[in-house]
């Protein structure tokens, strides 16, 4: 009886607008994520000889020592990366949002840059700086007679991954900290709470949505990432195992796809656990006039300490990019702390040869990121604000994209769209550059989605109710109240999607069908296949970093100005 009443009630609550949006998004995900992926991974459930449905491949997975070792290695590396990344992100986020800090916007922007580690060349730069015979170790050995194994085995993966992905925590945590109601902090202070206790008991718990969003992204991303372990030649982790299987010539083994399925399931599990951790808590704040935590001035000594900490962290996380810039000006850099000599000729080469790559990248990455925040905001709204049945599944489906190896998505796209000719030109649909944009958007949608969800979790629904009471339509409320209040989170989502899409390689390499449509990552790949291409590759990498860095900085500035105009800041 009750269940019937409930369902009738829930049906009654479904309004046509949200339902239509949900259907559109579901269609998009189905077409560009589910269908292509299923086209590829159904092999995991197939008996190789008869083609019948079977689970024996999964049994093989659990019986295989190598796969189990890879599984635990992946788990260990992901967990440790979250710990190290948190240690890097917490001080930066806290110091820049909580105190009067000169250059806070600059630091926040610089903090995003590690996300753009151009493929291949980033690893070369890291080896040249931190490798066994890198700058640091050569200097240490010459002067002190010892060296530090930064880059050995799993340690190397943790080291590089936490530097690479800590911005996920930084961006989301900063966005959350900025959204905390100042009244909360003031009430706590009135009740006699200060210092670290205030941070531990009040500020950090209130910023939880952002932290959890960031940390779960770091965990899942490290779990699924294959670029870094492969470039450090660590093959006993899950993602590299899947990749090695899927992309070997002539071998048609289902295990690669089995591992992909395991990766997808693990990512969804991690997500579910993080959702459990957030359940039953209310993070919304009503008060928005205060515009985040009170910023206070630091005493001179504190200021020195704070700047030292920030500078040290920035130096560490920007080291790959410092290495990259050195490399782009270097003539020869081999087994020596610094390059032999410097030159401008690599930049000249890139200017002459690669202009097209840069404009393509800007176009693709910004289209993909824009698509991501629109869909991300819509899904977040549908999940948190409507009672649409099955709305959680949109969230899960979109997040599953995180775990789909780029190669699988690339092959799936070829398989799904190659047979469909384009109207007018008759060329295969998959060679249309917009398909590449969709692939990038799908791959980066999870970042935008988590950021948008975290942002909406901090907006109290009473604000919308108030607006509606004043006779604003749903759409108007959304446009004038909800989205502006979410702007920080949406920006965070846009920036992460844009920055990472700009250097995405694994799906791109399968889908690029003509040089004139190729993005920058493809150009980098091409350079990095030859000894003579190292310098120009590094120069192109620097271009990528500068472009994304500037984009990030500009969007920060725009958002800050918007806030100030609305009187939210100071």
């Amino acid at each position: 009886m009750t269940s019937l009443a409930l369902s009738r009630e829930s049906i009654a609550r479904v309004r046509p607008g949200p339902a239509a949006v949900a259907a559109l998004i579901a269609l998009f995900l189905l077409l560009f994520l589910v269908v292509p992926v299923v086209q590829v991974i159904f092999v995991a459930f197939q008996d190789k000889t008869t083609g019948a449905f079977t689970l024996v491949n999964f049994a093989d997975f659990f019986r295989n020592d190598l796969f189990m070792r890879s599984f635990w290695n992946s788990f260990y590396v992901s967990a440790m990366s979250v710990v190290v990344a948190s240690a890097l992100a917490l001080p930066l986020a806290y110091l820049t949002t909580r105190f009067e800090f000169r250059g806070a916007v600059l630091i926040q922007s610089l903090g995003v840059i590690p996300l753009i580690m151009p493929p291949f060349i980033g690893a070369v730069a890291m080896q040249l700086l931190f490798g066994r015979n890198g700058t640091v170790n050569l200097l240490l050995r010459d002067h002190f007679g010892f060296s530090i194994p930064f880059m050995e085995g799993l340690n190397g993966v943790i080291f590089v991954q936490s530097i690479h992905y800590f911005p996920f925590i930084l961006i989301n945590l900063s966005a959350s900290l900025k959204n905390i109601d100042r009244a909360m902090e003031e009430s706590a202070q009135n009740l006699g709470c200060h210092g670290f206790r205030l941070f531990r008991r009040i500020v950090f718990p209130l910023a939880m949505p952002g932290y959890v969003a960031g940390a779960s992204l770091v965990f899942i991303k490290v779990f699924d990432d294959l670029g870094t372990p492969l470039l450090l030649n660590v093959s006993d982790m899950l993602a590299p195992q899947a990749y090695l299987r899927i992309s070997s010539i002539g071998i048609a083994d289902p295990m690669g796809y089995v591992i992909s399925v395991v990766l997808i399931v693990c990512s969804l599990l991690a997500l579910w656990v993080s959702a459990l951790a957030m359940r039953g808590k209310d993070y919304a704040t009503v008060q928005r006039g205060g515009g985040g935590l009170a910023r206070r001035r630091m005493k001179p000594l504190e200021l020195v300490a704070a700047y030292t900490v920030v500078l040290l962290i920035l130096m560490l996380v920007l080291a790959p990019h410092i290495g990259l810039s050195l490399l782009s000006f270097a003539t020869i850099w081999s087994f020596s702390p610094f390059p032999d000599a410097f030159t401008m000729k690599h930049y000249h080469t890139v200017f002459v040869e690669s202009g097209q790559y840069i404009t393509n990248t800007l176009l693709y990455a910004s289209l993909a990121a824009a698509l991501d925040v629109v869909i991300g905001t819509a899904i977040a709204y549908l999940v948190l604000r409507t009672k649409l049945p099955g709305r959680q599944w949109l969230d899960y489906a979109a997040m599953a994209a995180l775990a789909v190896p780029g190669v699988v998505l690339g092959i799936g796209y070829l398989r799904s769209f190659y047979g469909i000719p384009m109207p007018f030109s008759g060329q295969p649909l998959s060679s249309f550059w917009l398909i590449l944009v969709f692939a990038l958007a799908i791959r980066r949608l999870p970042y935008a989605l988590r950021a948008c969800t975290a942002a909406l979790q901090q907006v109290s629904s009473s604000l919308e109710e108030a607006a509606e009471n004043l006779a604003a339509t749903k759409l108007r409320t959304l446009g004038r109240i909800v989205v502006p209040l979410m702007s920080g989170g949406i920006l965070a989502g846009f920036v992460t999607s844009f920055a990472t899409a700009a250097v995405e390689l694994s799906a791109t390499i399968m889908l690029v069908q003509s040089q004139s449509d190729a993005p920058l990552a493809y150009g980098l790949y091409v350079y990095m296949q030859s000894a003579a291409g190292r310098g120009p590759g590094a120069a192109l990498g620097v271009f990528a970093v500068v472009i994304v860095g500037l984009g990030t900085y500009l969007s920060h500035v725009i958002i800050e100005r918007g806030r100030r105009e609305r009187g939210q800041e100071r």
């Binding site: 008869t50 015979n133 030649n233 093959s235 010539i249 092959i411 070829l414 399968m510 003509s514 003579a532």
Partner: protein, 448 residues
């Protein structure tokens, strides 16, 4: 018949034979080439070709060999690629097996049948060799000086204790050319002894890289000292100014890098013209450029080469030592890759630990001879070298069936699943390496 008349007749016959096509002999339009070659090579050929045939626009699509093969397989239904251009003959074999290549016999004369011991062209004419390359050893001179290492000459040198943790190679399952090196050692020394050498080499590996270029890249930056690489990687690194050197060991194979016309190529004429062009004297000379440095298959081109350029047609020791049997190689291709991965790549830590213990024990025995210890070390070495399958088993289609794509008919015996086979091999290796290490440690204790 006078000479003029004869040539007129020949020309007439030619025109008649080629019919209307005679007017289309000059190719035009877009020529799409999927290749794994570096930009240095492709753009040099692209420029030279477009100069000779200005009506053709060459579009180069760079993909690694594996991705290239996958791409052609996935797009075969509506193919838009004219040529596939890559090193590894095995990639072409896969494409040939999938019926994705078009036979074409190049018109260029004077290309010998074999380079070293390897046939230049595919017997069925599905793909043609255009440049030769040999495997060898490359090292970073600064690294060697800093670590007091002598320059290696032969594969056997690299098994010595002094090179422990200094050598790198790429995985044969990832790099068709490394696969050929492994296979060359196996064919040159025999299955059992060849694997022993491969494992003794592997005991000194610093790392096993996932892509072929990872090895020269690491040697160039000095991450490791010595790399087992294909010649042009080393030669072009040298030409770019890196402090590296290269040598061919006596046992090496010279193998051709290939080009093949893709089935249903949209621009077949341009594709065939391109194949003829790169085999022509003008095309072969491009290979001599310092950033490319590959060995031409046209012997005449070596006259234009700089002094000291390796010439496999003159220098008979180069690659002639081993009579490379393509059929044997093909029959056990995937098995050799999987064996290398399971016994070496994924057990590298255990293998290195055993090797280290053996080296230490041998050093101790050299100082203080001890027969018991010596025989223990010999046992340890045998344990490391032991193989879970014999040469006959490796060539057995039943075993190979665990790795292939084709779906068997219901009456065929069902082979074991690849994952099962691999698990068995990995467990075998792990156990043996642990036992070997224990024996070597016992020997060390005795010789102390």
């Amino acid at each position: 018949m006078s000479r003029t008349l004869r040539s007129v007749a020949a020309a007439l016959a030619f025109v008649l034979a080629s019919g209307t096509a005679a007017f289309a002999q000059d190719p035009s339009g877009k020529l799409v080439i999927v290749t794994s070659f570096p930009k240095d090579l492709t753009s040099a050929f692209q420029q030279a070709f477009q100069k000779a045939h200005p009506k053709v626009t060459v579009e180069i699509l760079n993909r690694n060999t594996n991705a290239g093969v996958k791409f052609l397989q996935e797009t075969a239904s509506n193919n838009g690629t004219d040529l596939f251009w890559a090193s590894a003959p095995d990639a072409f074999e896969v494409l040939k097996g999938a019926n994705l290549l078009q036979a074409y016999k190049p018109k260029v004369e004077g290309i010998p049948e074999k380079v070293g011991a390897y046939p230049v062209n595919d017997p069925q004419g599905m793909y043609a060799g255009f440049a030769a390359s040999g495997y060898g050893i490359m090292w970073n001179t600064r690294y060697m000086k800093a670590n007091n290492l002598p320059a290696p000459k032969e594969w056997a040198d690299l098994t010595k204790a002094i090179y422990y943790d200094h050598v790198a190679i790429s995985a044969p399952s990832r790099s068709g050319t490394t696969h050929l090196t492994i296979e060359t050692i196996l064919q040159g020394e025999g299955w059992e002894k060849g694997w022993r050498t491969n494992k003794e080499l592997a005991g000194n590996y610093r790392t096993i890289t996932e892509r072929s270029f990872g090895v020269p890249d690491g040697v160039n930056s000095g991450s490791f000292g010595v790399g087992i690489v294909i010649d042009f990687f080393a030669l072009s690194s040298q030409a770019s100014g890196f402090p590296v050197e290269f040598t061919y060991p006596t046992v090496t194979t010279i193998v051709p890098a290939n080009i093949g016309v893709v089935k249903n190529a949209p621009n077949k004429l341009a594709a065939e013209t391109f194949v003829d062009f790169i085999l022509s004297p003008a095309g072969q000379e491009v290979l001599l450029q310092p950033a490319i440095r590959r060995l031409p298959v046209n012997p005449a081109t070596y006259e234009k080469a700089p002094a000291g350029y390796p010439n496999p047609f003159k220098d008979t020791s180069l690659g002639a030592q081993v009579n490379f049997d393509v059929e044997v190689s093909q029959a056990r291709y995937n098995v050799v890759d999987a064996l290398f991965d399971q016994l070496i790549t994924f057990q590298l830590d255990d293998l290195k630990a055993a090797t280290r213990a053996i080296h230490q024990a041998e050093a101790a025995i050299a100082k203080k001879p001890n027969d018991k210890a010596r025989s223990l070390v010999a046992e340890a070495r045998d344990l490391v070298a032991a193989m879970p399958v014999t040469a006959e088993q490796a060539a057995d289609p039943q075993l190979a069936g665990a790795f292939t794509v084709e779906r068997k008919s219901a009456t065929d015996a069902v082979p074991e699943r690849q994952a099962q086979v691999e698990q068995k091999w990995a467990a075998f290796a792990k156990e043996n390496y642990a036992a070997a290490r224990k024996k070597a440690e016992e020997a060390l204790a005795l010789a102390r």
